[in-house]
Structure formats: C-alpha cells, structure tokens
Symmetry: C2
Subunit: 368 residues, 2 copies
C-alpha cells in the first residue's frame, strides 16, 4: 500500500503500479534511441530508468524533428531548503535544455506552500523561493533561456490565465485528483489552476501553440493530469511530461524534511553531509563476517541509490560497485566514506556556484 | 419564498426576513441622528430606508468621532452595461465620500463575472469594467480620494492577500455561505477571497488598521459575512457595512438584464428610456374610471420606486405624489410622462459626464 499526492508520499512505492494507475507510459528502448539521436548520449538518469515514465514524449520528438521546438517547464514548492532529492529533476532538466537548446520556465509555488502548510507565512515561502532559486541557477541553466518566477510576484500574468483553467475544473474533479475534503481550504482547491499556467503561458505570450515538456518527480503528476484534460479545451496542446522516481531517504523509506538526517541539503557543510551519510541505513548485513560471506543488498540501500542517481555517472564504475557490494568485497563503512568524498566535492562546487548565483540571479527572475 | 445570493435573486423578497436571516441590524433613529450630526442632512436613500440595514455602523461613527477615519469600499461585477439599479449604492457611496471626506476603493470583479458566466470571456468582462467605470466616475467621486481597479489588472497586489483569506476558508464554509455544489468550478469557490481583500488592503498598505465601511446591495452580504469571520483572524477589523434594497424591475418583480424593458441603462437614449417607462408595469387599476374612484397602489409600483429611490429627492413632493396616486387624481400615463422627463434629464447629464470621464479615467484607475 502506498499513497502519493503532490503533498503526501507514504508507504511502499511500487513504480510499476504507479505507471498503470496514473496511466503513464514506460520509456521504451526505441524512444531512448530517438532521444539519443539528438542528444548524442543518454543521460544516466534516463538510461538507468530514474526517469522511468512519460506522457507524449514521442510527440515532443516528432514536433522537434519537424523544427517545432518545445519548451521545458518544471518548478519547486519552496517549503524549505533544497535537498539532493529536489535537484535530481533539475539536473536532468538542465541536461535537456543544453542538449535541445530550449527555453525553461521555472515556477516557484510560494502560494502553494503557504496554502498547504500551517506553519509557513508568505514572507517565509518567498524567502525560501529565492534561496531555492540559487540552487537552480547553480546547476548551470542558460541565463538567456531560463525564466524563474514566484507565483505571487508574477500574479498579474498568471492569475488571469489561471482563471481560464479554474473555470473548466469542478470541485468534484479536483477532489478526485487530489483527495480534497470539505475541510480543504479554498486556496488549496484553486491552486492547481496556477500550476497549470506555465504549461501554456509561452503559447499565450507568443500567440501560437508551443509544445511543452515537463520533467518532474512523479508525485506532481495529478496536477499535470488535470492540466492535460483542460488545456485542449482552451485551445492549447496537452503538455508532455517525463517522471522520475524519488531519491530515497538516508534513514530508509522516503526522504523527509522532518526526519533529521534523512536528507542532505545543498547548504549542508561537507562534515554535516558526511555525518548523515555515515549514520545512514544501508543494505548491509548485521555483521562484517556475514556481509563478507553473503554480500549486501544494494537495491534497498539509499547509499547505492545516491551513487546511482547522482554521484556515479560512469556505468562501468557502477557495475563494479554493484558486484563489489553483492560479492561482499566492500563494506558499508568504506562505501559510505567514498560517497562522502563525492558529496563533499559536489557540495563545495555547488556552494561556490550558489554564492556566485547571488550576483546574477536577476538575469533569471521575471516578475510583473 | 425567495432566494438571494450574489449571483441569483429570485422570489418575493421580504427585507425584514433578510435582516433576521442574515443577522443584520436595522438602522435606528438614533443611528440616523448620529450620522446627521456629521453630514448635516440625511440622504434620501437613508431617510427613506432604501439603505435599510447595517453591520457595525455605530462603531464606524464611534471611530470617526475619535478622529479615526474609515474608508469606503464598494464595487461592481462587470457583466453588462450599468443600469439605474446599479448606480443606486454608488450614488449613496458618493454622498458618504463627500460628507465624510474619505477614500473609496472601488473593485471591478472582472474575474468573478468571467468565472460565473459561461458566455463571457475575460476580454469582455475587462471591457465592461472600463465601461462601468465611466458611470462610476460620472457620479462625481473625488478623483483624489477614489481608486478603481480591475481584479485581473491589480492581481499582483490582490492575489497574495487573497491567499491569506483563502487559507482560512474551508470548502464547507464557502458552500454554506454561497450554496456551492460539487459541480461548482474551483474559481467560483476561491473567488470570495478576492472580494474580501479591499476590506483590509488599505490596512496592509498603511501598515495600520483602518476601519472599512461597505455600502452594497444586500445580495452581496454573504461575501462580507465571510470576510467578517476571517479578517479578525488575520489581525484586521471586521468590515462594517450598510445594505440597500433593490430597485425593482420595470416589468414587475426583480430587475433583470435578460428581460427586455426591465431596466434602464445609463447608455439608453431618452427615447429608449421613455419607451421602457411607458411600457412599465404599475400599481394602477384596470380602468381609468376605477383608478379615479379607488386610486392606485404605489407601494407595488416600480414607477413610484424610481421616484422614491432616485428621481424625487424632495420629501414633500414625494408625499404629494403618494397622495395624488392613492387618491386617484393622477393616472399612470401622466405619472410615467413626468418620470420620463426626469430620467431623460438625468441621462442627458450623466451621458455628458460619462463622455468627459473618458478623458480623466486614468486619474482613477490603479493597476500593478
């Protein structure tokens, strides 16, 4: 049993069930080859199935091949600092931007996080949005092709478009898609209308339809299912999308902002990150002896998934790690030490770029 | 039986029942005297009970007497051209502004009329809002003390404040106040949050609480009941309000935009207005003979209410008309002819001012 909505992920997530229940398509070999034809290589997140499903990605490639370029749309709900799980779809989005030379619209839903979180006020979610924007920029997005905006600061543009979506969406439908109750607040109920807007805003602004591709963690899918129903009624294309799995929490299970040590934040010091890694749950055995004899289980190990999703792009190296782990020739302590070094190197580089981003953030931000 | 919501008024309206059901207070002699102390005279709409109920108006006067001035807030849902029923609360609001020397915030809910009306798009409701604004300005509001805005054009300011209201309002409560169903669209459900904002926006902008008085036709009361519940939770005053009855339709019953001849529009020619008046339902008898003998019933007569509410401010003149009518010494044709002249004079003057308003509308409009 699992539950997955944009605001709650719990239970044992079965991604193959999600594909079926959400009505997604898996990413075929043929589709990967079509992508590779244009990108020359396949991003590890793609060839390893971290991005595991899609909607209408073949159509995006069809249009691209006709010279009809898409734009990318993704975003962030600024409820706290950025952790490594958040940047996973952004890393992939940056790669897509670079390989396809396309625009990115990046939405900071400061309104959403205010509406859905009793403990946050709007000043806090705005501040966090700017903090999170530094992480986005640090990942190397093209300043000429990337627009980052906060919903509350871009409301004069977004609100009238959101009204068009809202007019087509009944409470019944919103309730079925998101699990609202009669006690949900009216802002929560309205909000998905705002999240739908960037999927067609470039079409509005250009006065002609532009295909949209949304890379996102799979929990956001209900928003885009709703958008796909409504946008054609407004005369726009259905947005295409590509879904990633979650980076697991270091304490086992899902990553949780409320569980200490479960996530590594981009603002963590290398020492803090190392401590979290060294204290992490693994797929190891109870004793060194047992592990040396029987090997460990990397498939359930968050440390392994950190390597696989973010810190070991070389497939041969990863295969070798897998066999070391399975064969019992590497112990968890050693494996964690190695990861800590890679994470420390990433953090040091990222934090430097994050500081630099403070000087040119205004080149990315758009407001009314 | 009657039904009264911001979007539907039907049945036989019993204003004394409304006072009870809505939890309003009637306007006492004592309160009228308190007002008169400051205004030197009482507006006919007040002394004749066309504004018949209020909430917290005594508090507004208390604060005013302490030197703590209120601001006025009213508005218009731009679903069509302005008719004489619409201007009734505006005429009174203009008088309040003049007598108390206070600011007015005038909201054009182009978002609302788009959301609640299948036949209107946002371009149409925006255009109508500008048309309606000309009528507002033509009534003589002080250009230094009056701000008129469209929700969609002022959304960067309004939307973040509306979110604060929305977060405190559940679907249950909105449903109970407005009669929403599961088939209501999510924009309709959210909308009252936007209508609440002008009641506290001046407090936000000034950084201190300012009392708010809302003159409005009684059908809008559910919005302000909701606002009164929520604003104190956000640290603002409950808005005070004063409610008017409706100007009746010329064809009998309520005024209806869809019933030809039921309303006189400010853009009607004097000839059109005269035709509508001459074709109106009255409180007259079936035959001249009968009317001369028994007199007519002015209380049910829309022609009489046009005089009483808008076209005969002199109480002695009105009393004399009442006795002529009751005594059968004036027939409906004659009475209609006299009204037509007054309406023609009003329209000619108003239309002239309305044309002039086109040249200085920008002094009134605010946008982000």
């Amino acid at each position: 049993m699992y539950k997955i909505t944009p605001w709650e992920v719990s239970g044992d997530i079965d991604y193959s069930k999600i594909v079926k229940e959400f009505g997604l398509e898996t990413i075929s070999e043929h589709l990967m080859k079509r992508i590779e034809k244009h990108t020359k290589e396949l991003h590890p997140l793609l060839r390893r199935g971290v991005f595991f499903a899609h909607r209408d990605l073949n159509w995006i490639i069809d249009e691209y091949e006709k010279g009809h370029h898409f734009f990318l749309y993704t975003g962030r709900g600024p409820s706290g600092h950025t952790h490594l799980g958040h940047i996973l779809p952004w890393v992939f989005t940056q790669w897509l931007q670079e390989k396809f030379h396309v625009d990115l619209w990046f939405q900071m839903t400061d309104d959403e996080k205010f509406l859905f979180n009793d403990k946050l006020d709007l000043e806090q979610t705005r501040k966090l949005a700017y903090e999170n924007a530094l992480d986005v920029i640090a990942l190397g997005f093209d300043e000429k092709k990337t627009k980052i905006f906060l919903d509350t600061e871009y409301a004069k543009t977004l609100y009238p478009q959101a009204l068009k979506v809202a007019k087509r969406l009944t409470f019944s439908t919103a309730k079925a898609a998101f699990g609202f109750s009669n006690e949900s607040n009216v802002g929560e109920i309205f909000f998905t209308s705002v999240q739908a807007v960037p999927a067609f805003l470039p079409s509005v602004l250009k006065g002609k339809n532009v295909p949209c591709l949304i890379p996102h963690a799979v929990d956001q899918d209900p928003h885009f299912r709703v958008a796909r129903d409504i946008l054609p009624k407004l005369g726009y294309y259905k947005p295409a999308s590509i879904q990633s799995v979650f980076l697991p929490g270091l304490r086992g299970g899902k990553m949780s902002a409320s569980e200490e040590g479960s996530a590594i934040y981009t603002t963590d010091s290398p020492e803090t990150a190392k401590r979290k890694i060294m204290n992490a749950f693994t797929g190891g055995r109870d004793t060194v002896k047992e592990q040396k004899e029987k090997g460990a289980n990397y498939s359930i190990c968050p440390i392994y998934h950190y390597y696989r999703q973010l810190f070991m792009p070389d497939d041969k190296e990863l295969a070798s790690l897998e066999s070391e782990c399975k064969g019992g020739s590497i112990l968890c302590g050693e494996c964690k030490e190695r990861l800590s070094k890679r994470v420390a190197a990433f953090l040091s580089d990222h934090q430097h770029k994050r500081e630099q981003a403070k000087h040119h953030i205004e080149k990315f931000m758009i407001r009314d």
